[in-house]
Symmetry: C2
Subunit: 470 residues, 2 copies
């Protein structure tokens, strides 16, 4: 029993929290096993020379956090927290079970997309009607497998300087579908896939679903750690490297030109392909950051490029596109057909007209002004309110801050999530961005796109109080 | 060389066709191997006692059909037709490479969906605008993981008598996506899946993509052959049986009540689940056919029900739903999120309003009147024009006829496809509806939804001429 006692040495922390924290660690590390009976209240309080009430508090707390089960007349039993199931479910249930109305009562830092407040309803409605007047039922009948020709042509003209073969552009229902259909085409059981650490949870899910071997490479402020990357390449035949080039989700980091070039060189040398998920590169606030995608730099046809319009526009539109290397063009297109035949054609036509009329460009300019302001405000308040409780690097663009809890903080991000939820605040623990969930224990993501300035202040103060009260 | 000679005994058939036909069979059955050099023109003509020109015709024909390659100065080499690659590509290229405008020059019997001519553009436009006026940007911001609550409620009310738990209804982007996400949730490498023989090619693709073991059970006019089905169940642990309950694609067959009940009983006994793809059951012309889905008859929660709105409404809308058994609810929902997060929310809201206002019901009534007439016409003309060249059973509903070429016909359906395409007519060879492609060699599907009555006559006459000229 000495293992309990040795840690009771922190004068600043209430005894019951120290004890609970230590027991949790023992359960997490399997020193106390799942289902093992914990000492009786009397025995433990005597042993630790504390009041019975302190141990009662410890056990209640453990139970509340899912680390113990108390059985009347029998005692208290350790319970290994099943992160994967219970937390994932609790987190996704927020969006499954709360109505939009109920969600409005929350300060919601989980947003990854532009906010609907800034969506240009009137101009979008105008193009929708124009399309229906122009094309009639054809607007909804179209089944071009690659997606609406006009939209592919506009994408090529406005975003790629007409340099892409139109047959290599495939319209998809957002970036998630892009990742899914590429994986179905190219990734089989036991294939090796490299991801950034941390990475987008939706991509991890897809690669897990394909039963791939997943290698993580730590992400640094200018891109992945190339030493670790090369070590993996030397020892394993890698098929795919999935990355986000700008304002990575969740870290907000962007790749330096040097790292981009080096990775493209390695792709040829080691014969792997790059999935570039071009996540939110439209929102650049730091003028030192220049936009240059892997795809644009790629001279060896090694990049499968994915762009979502949903993130920057509105998620409900469900449109994105991907550009296939010539080699995989057919297999990826067939995979799209097997997945859902094609993407809503009316939406494609409306988006095409929206781009063609210049609405898209002015909308993006507008969002840059709005969000830069909010970004600066958020950065300032994070420092002002949470100060040395956290660490973060300002990303210079995008819609998120990635926060690590400083060493002095006594709460992990999952617990922080549950405590915040009680106070009607939602944030995203980093848990799901790592292959080994526990690697994210002291990180979380704050998305500011849907939160008013007043709520940013309220929200950060709630987080502060919770951290301080632990 | 006698093998060539033995078949030259049909007085009715030009010699070069007899010879070509026989050589094709020898290649298909590997008696002549892929890449094997064929006899020189002189040698073969002498041997068969025909003109040189006849053999030149034979070799030209073989090359045109992809059965041979002629190399100048070297000779003619057998080529095994790669059905999977070359035909599949040629078929899908029609829809990838031809613009809608170009397609209009064809008599197109490939349609599986209702025709856009009958789509109620005005009322759909009205509901779209009403949704945008009512919900503004929210109409496109919504990310409810299960799909728009209002639509799920309307589906429950109008189609299920409010008897389904709303949490078990999941909005998907059409039936194909339904099959895909169910498979990703439930079907793993080497899992056993049963399908009808023949079955929908998009389902076969998905199950192949999951690397499942696929068992086919012959489909009869009142449902699958239960003897074969039970034999498979006895010997193998089956996970999923995928079926289409009404006007099956491609056969047009529907299940009898007895077979439905028997299959549901077997599902419980042998612990498998049924994917019921409720394909086009809205279009019933034969008043003897009563609508009663497996799902409605299922008291043991064994059915995963899929319904597409795209087929009957318009494909471009890309909306359908599925009903999960309680047991798989969560895993299927998560699979949807991994696939594409959610389905276009504006379309969901528009469809909901469309149903709620009674437009859906009157649209379906209208389609039943229009298509019953066309169906009767098609049936009549098939008999009148193609007569004893073909066999078919009138399905009593839906939008397709499934045709088998009679024994006296000397052309397979793939060749028929290519010949028809030259004459600007498109049909669907049964090739892709079978696990072993060759099983479909003498079947094809004619969808009449997009073809005018005049074009039905023109089209069937083109088919007749081609068959007769062989």
């Amino acid at each position: 029993m000495e293992k309990y006692l040795t840690k009771l040495n922190n004068e600043d922390m209430p005894k019951y929290i120290q004890i609970a924290k230590h027991i949790k660690k023992l359960i997490d590390t399997n020193i106390i096993e799942d289902g093992e009976k914990l000492p009786s209240i009397r025995k433990l309080s005597k042993f630790l020379q504390v009041n019975n009430d302190t141990i009662i508090n410890v056990y209640n707390r453990l139970e509340a956090e899912g680390y113990a089960v108390q059985r009347i007349g029998s005692g208290t039993y350790a319970k290994k927290r099943e992160y994967t199931k219970s937390f994932k479910k609790d987190y996704s249930d927020i969006f499954k079970k709360l109505s939009l109305e109920e969600l409005k009562a929350y300060v919601d830092f989980t947003g990854e997309n532009a906010c609907s407040d800034f969506f240009p309803v009137d101009s979008f409605k105008a193009v929708l009607n124009e399309v229906l007047d122009r094309d009639g039922a054809e607007a909804l009948a179209n089944q071009e497998a690659l997606g609406y020709y006009g939209l592919r042509a506009s994408i090529n003209k406005y975003f790629w300087n007409n340099e892409i073969d139109l047959e290599n552009i495939l319209i998809v229902s957002g970036a998630q579908q892009g990742i899914d259909i590429i994986s179905k085409s190219l990734v089989n059981v036991n294939d090796n896939v490299i991801v950034e650490k941390p990475t987008y949870s939706g991509a991890l899910s897809v690669f897990r679903g394909r039963r791939a071997n997943i290698f993580e490479v730590p992400l640094e402020e200018d891109g992945i750690n190339l030493e670790v990357f090369k070590e993996i390449l030397k020892k394993n035949k890698i098929k795919i490297f999935y990355l986000m080039s700008y304002f990575q989700n969740p870290t907000g980091f962007s790749y330096s030109l040097e790292k981009k070039q080096e990775i493209l060189k390695l792709a040829l040398e080691y014969d792997f392909y790059i999935i570039e998920d071009d996540y939110l590169s439209e929102l650049i606030y730091d003028t030192n950051i220049k936009y240059e995608s892997f795809k644009a730099l790629d001279i060896n046809d090694r990049v499968i490029y994915i762009k979502s319009f949903s993130k920057i526009f509105l998620p409900g539109i469900r449109i994105g596109y991907l550009i296939s290397p010539e080699k995989f063009k057919d297999v990826i297109q067939n995979s799209k057909i097997d997945t859902d035949i094609s993407t809503s054609s009316l939406m494609q036509r409306a988006l095409q007209l929206y781009i063609e009329k210049g609405f898209w460009k002015s909308h993006i300019n507008n969002l840059n002004i709005i969000y830069k302001e909010k970004y600066v405000f958020m950065e300032e308040k994070l420092t002002e309110i949470l100060g040395d409780l956290i660490n973060f690097k300002a990303p210079g663009g995008g819609l998120n801050f990635y926060i690590s809890l400083s060493d002095k903080v006594r709460i992990d991000s999952i617990t922080l999530f549950y405590r915040c939820k009680e106070k009607k605040l939602l944030l995203t623990p980093a848990f799901m961005f790592y292959k080994h969930y526990k690697d994210g224990d002291y990180y979380f993501r704050l998305g500011f796109s849907k939160v008013s300035n007043a709520d940013i202040i309220t929200g950060l103060n709630i987080i502060k109080e919770i951290i301080k009260s632990e």
